[in-house]
Amino acid sequence: MLLTLLLIPILTAFAVILRPARQAALIATIGSTAAFAWSMLVWRAFDFGDSAAMQVTASWTWIEPLGLRLSLGVDSIALLLVMLTAALTPLAILGSWTAITQRVREFYLWMLILEAAMLGVFVARDLLVFYIAFEFTLIPMYFLIAVYGSTNRARASIVFFLYTFTGSILTLVGLLYVAWAHWDQYGRWTFDIAALTATAASMSAAQQAWVLLALCCGFAVKVPLFPVHTWLPLAHTEAPTAGSVILAAVLLKLGTYGLYRFAMPMCPAAFHEYAPLIAVLCIVGIIYGALVCWVQRDMKRLIAYSSVSHLGFCVLGLAAINAAGVGGSVMYMINHGLSTGALFLCVGMVYERFHTRSLDELGGLARRMPVWTAFTIFFVLSSVGLPGLNGFVGEFLTFFGAFTSGQPVQGLPTGGPLGPWYGAIAATGMILAAIYLLYFAGHLVFGAYHLPDTSHAGHDDHAHVRLPRDLCMREIAVLAPLALLCFWLGVQPGAILSRIEQPVSEIVTHVNAAADRSMLITAIDESEDR
């Protein structure tokens, strides 16, 4: 079932290549929508009563002596991210119908391959399948940036590729070390994530710390955490709209998902020990990203930096290691995907019309583009974390988690190494988010109506389809589902929260128990030394 899910985009990609260019967009849209429909079937097949377990599994032998298996499966968190990917890709594709005018077929090919790779990451139960898919996302993204990006695309694509690739090589080292440790212990190779997780979790704290460091190298770059975030603004700025959408919505989640799926369960004791450090990085990232956001003149870069700030919250929630924090973090992954993805779409629609990203050249679009304005303001508010919209629930829970982490609630201890101060300082990010996003909205949407000097736009006209000033039905069809979803998740977050409760509480228990054990061992050692 999951294999079919992976195959749908790949087969569609072939279909796109084989058919004439003018059909490419349609085929890609249909194909990715089919993938989404299929993911709905997976959702139906999933038993949420046991959502922490890997379900809808499938497994085929791949390379027997190495214990490599093509095994797929999802727990509810992975399933949610699968749904996010499958839902956003058709929208991103639909949003690029008129934006892409050259090398059309290749564009949709890469988009679909990218979708397959991202889905592969989330459905992998085998380490190497995961890693291959994880790395494979780089290739389509590289081409999307390098071929369809704007002026500085060459540098952006290379920086993007090298940055993330360097990080993930170290991740591979860490993962292979775990696989080797398993071999060392049991005398056979396996890359089954569950088996390796068990092995890794039983390693000594020092070993775990090294593995954690290696894993974090890759995942932190991908997230991106401060201070390895500088590739993101560049990549976002230069990428085409659809690329930015996917990048923000899903690719960044690969990092947080990696932390959730590998770093936390594999090195629980080390993660618990170093969580404050990670949290500090997150908080610095939240505030730093927000302040930097505020001085941007380029709207895509602004949103990119806002991602840095937002993802800081997301990882902070993980580092809180309590149910609220981790659950909020998962919620945040989904929400950030929806609202930031949508914001990039909105910005892309403006870019498509006026061919500029500069906030200096645009202003007061509300006057001529009321529908667009309504959507943009809506998503800005969602991104700011306005209660009642989706952004709030995740943001509140993460910072709530960080705040309550490690604090007894009515005498009942909750796990986690953080404390109120982490939450309190991180919460200033909420103010800063309001500052920079309203700065963005104030410049772009409100204020006096002005457009860039159109004297140089003449040569663009023949290359671009004429678009109405305000959004056309297709663009509304792209944004409306996202807006509905944002609203619905804001009002009914239980739809997600109740479904992730089991895996979240499982991992929180796992990490905290391991940390307790490790502390106990240290204490025993010390007493023996004495």
Binding site: H229, V295, A366, P370, A374, L386, F396, F403, G447, A448
Partner: protein, 678 residues
């Protein structure tokens, strides 16, 4: 001290009051209060997005209908709830781990009062605006936002837990943002909107942290659970943890942000950039009182800390006098009333702080009427005189035909604001001031005196406006919205029926609303209402029943009447009979007046001390941190291979043999390494 006084006070939490007022089963669909305006907001929103749709002109009616329905429901609920309380879950919202925050309503008499104020004033303002906003391009949009505001505000008021309250809290902030920035082509409006939202957010941060801390301490965010535990804590007599004592201070921060108290008041005067009905509804009558409501609602928590309520009282008191001084030096009528709002909100906090929650709520109630009337009157002036608001350019409007109703309602409202005897403001203000003298607390007596002084200042600046604008010789200049050509004489157009009716209703309210609270303490209708809510407390017995001079509740009426009349008198002399004297006086204290006119330069100070440094840090982070240091380090990392590359570049000359040579060398090296290692 409060702790000492607290021992005398009997806190009646909602659950305690359950003994004499059992939980009420509501037979009214309470969710209509939220959903009817929501429906209106959606309809108006759709109309707003359809440019050129002629049906947009119905949006005013839709909005009035939506809010009106909410008002009717509120009335029914107020009747149904009575002195009891009710609880109603609409749907489950956030439920995770042990955190429970449902979309659920908690109704007690305090809620009823707030609901009536919000939906009642809301309906009136909507009616008013359906005339006032006619012809505006954003007609439908305006009503969409107003309806949305009512949704958020009623949610805030109805919330049964802190997180849902936070939803409403942020929601009203959003609507305020959208409505202040309603004329989004005016840079000042956009800036003011942004400022309002951000300053509010600073307060909200406190609120949010307060929620977290509350959860940590009480394991829940639901009022019922919290208050039960507070009660248990108080009766157990155990020492109260510092963390619990911190909660009221955090919540207070949120309240100060929303209700424009020192030091977060700066956004409210700027918020006058919004359409005047909005100023009346949101920035005078309802939203800004949310902070007062928050503290009133969570009063049991505030009673746990020795310092919380005195802080509230002092902040309120200082804000009241501070804003009054600024208000005295302004020329823009709307701004004067904005500062007046800040000042009056200060009174309300003062009231809460000195344990006169009845007084505070009562003042909130009466203030809603007379301040709405004042703003709507201003709006009528603005509407008629093409946006003119400068009191130096308007005079004697009372004698212009068609403006009598406006003048009349303004007079009534001004009297109420000035605390003229037997008007609504008179009763509510007295209740607060008197309580300051009754309650024992740090410096409460001083607060009382300052409050009294402020009452005088208030009377002065209020009637400064009234005498300048509505009395005296008739002369006026059109505002900047007047686009008539040269030589074209300006004719103000008098307000129509909708505006006049609303002004009459509000004017009546400004006079008679006060009677709801007559009887003092808990004896009047109002007092009993508050007495049966979470904001209830019992004043120490005896103090209220002494002789005339030993009972502040009695001599305060006289004192404040005298002070108020004094203020009116000074204003009459300076601004009606001898306007030249006012100018002379102003010149003699010019620096002070200019400084006050510049709002004591608080905005500039914030800009210099907060905004600029932050933005500077942002620039430094971006240009130094990101582009220089981090990218520099990355580039350095990249430079190492590049240096090596430069060193070996001669080998990479594109000649095949060069590569071959490298291959041989490499192969040999590998072999030798293996050899050595084996």
């Amino acid at each position: 001290m409060i702790s000492a006084a607290g021992a005398q006070l009997v806190l009646l939490s909602s659950l305690a009051s359950a003994s004499d007022a059992a939980a009420v089963r509501l037979n009214v669909p309470v969710e209509w209060i939220v959903f009817a305006p929501l429906l209106a907001a959606l309809l108006c929103g759709i109309l707003a997005l359809r440019t050129g749709d002629a049906r947009a002109r119905y949006s005013g009616a839709i909005c009035v209908a939506g809010i009106g329905l909410a008002f009717l429901t509120s009335v029914a609920i107020a009747a149904s709830v009575g002195y009891g309380f009710a609880h109603e879950t609409v749907f489950e919202w956030i439920r995770f781990d042990r955190l429970r925050a449902d979309f659920a309503f908690f109704l007690d008499p305090l809620t009823s009062i707030m609901l009536l104020v919000v939906t009642g004033i809301g309906t009136l303002v909507a009616v008013y605006a359906s005339e006032y906003m006619r012809g505006d391009r954003g007609y439908a949009r305006f009503f969409a936002f107003v309806s949305l505001f009512i949704v958020a505000m009623t949610t805030l008021v109805l919330a049964d837990n802190l997180i849902l309250m936070y939803l409403g809290w942020e929601g009203v902030g959003l609507c305020s943002y959208l409505l202040i920035g309603f004329y989004y082509e005016k840079p000042a409006a956009v800036a003011a909107a942004k400022k309002a939202f951000i300053v509010n957010r600073i307060g909200d941060l406190g609120f949010a942290l307060g929620i977290c801390l509350t959860y940590l301490q009480f394991g829940s965010v639901e009022f019922a659970v919290i208050f039960e535990q507070v009660e248990a804590l108080r009766t157990s007599g155990a020492e109260i943890p510092t963390a619990i004592e911190a909660i009221p201070f955090l919540l207070m921060l949120g309240a100060f942000g929303k209700s424009a108290q020192l030091p977060l008041y700066v956004w409210l005067p700027d918020a006058m950039e919004g359409p005047t009905p909005v100023s009346a509804l949101i920035h005078a009558a309802t939203m800004v009182t949310a902070g007062v409501y928050l503290i009133a609602r969570t009063l049991p928590l505030f009673l746990l800390s020795e310092y919380a309520l005195p802080t509230v009282a002092w902040v309120g008191c200082l804000t009241a006098v501070f804003a009054a001084t600024i208000g005295m030096a302004q020329y823009d009528i709307k701004r004067i009333f904005a500062y007046s709002t800040v000042s009056q909100l200060g009174y309300m906090f003062m009231g809460l702080g000195v344990l006169s929650s009845v007084g505070a709520t009562f003042h909130l109630f009466t203030h809603a009427f007379f301040k709405a009337a004042l703003f709507l009157g201003c709006g009528a002036v603005m509407h008629g005189f093409a946006g003119q608001l400068d009191l130096r350019r308007l005079s004697g409007l009372g004698r212009v035909p068609g403006w009598q109703i406006v003048t009349g309602s303004m007079l009534v409202a001004c009297l109420a604001l000035a605390g003229f005897p037997l008007t609504s403001g008179f009763f509510s203000k007295d209740m607060i001031l008197a309580e300051a003298f009754v309650t024992a607390g740090p410096g409460y007596r001083a607060i009382g005196w300052i409050g009294l002084l402020t009452a005088g200042l208030t009377a002065y600046y209020t009637f400064r406006v009234f005498f300048r604008v509505f009395l005296g010789p008739v002369h006026f200049t059109a505002g900047e919205e007047h686009h008539g050509g040269h030589g074209h004489h300006f004719h103000p157009h008098a307000p129509g029926a909708a505006i006049n009716v609303v002004l009459i209703v509000l004017g009546a309210g400004a006079i008679f609303a006060g009677w709801a609270g007559v009887g003092g303490g808990h004896h009047g209708w109002f007092g009993s209402m508050v007495h049966h809510s979470t904001a209830a407390y019992e004043a120490p017995a005896g103090a209220a029943h002494g002789g005339f001079f030993s009972n502040p509740h009695q001599w305060m009426m006289l004192a404040s009447s005298v002070v108020g009349l004094l203020g009116i008198g000074v204003a009459a002399y300076l601004h009606l009979y001898n306007r030249a004297a006012a100018e002379r006086l102003r010149r003699s204290i010019l620096p002070v007046a200019v400084l006050a006119g510049h709002k004591w330069c608080v905005d500039e100070g914030y800009d210099l001390l907060v905004r600029r440094p932050l933005r500077f840090i942002g620039h430094v982070c971006y240009s130094l941190g990101d582009t220089l240091i981090i990218n520099g380090l990355v580039a350095l990392g990249g430079a190492v291979p590049r240096l090596i590359g430069a060193a070996v570049r001669p080998m990479q000359n594109g000649r095949l043999q060069g590569y071959g040579l490298g291959m041989a060398g490499g192969l040999a090296t590998v072999i030798i390494i293996v050899w050595v290692m084996l």
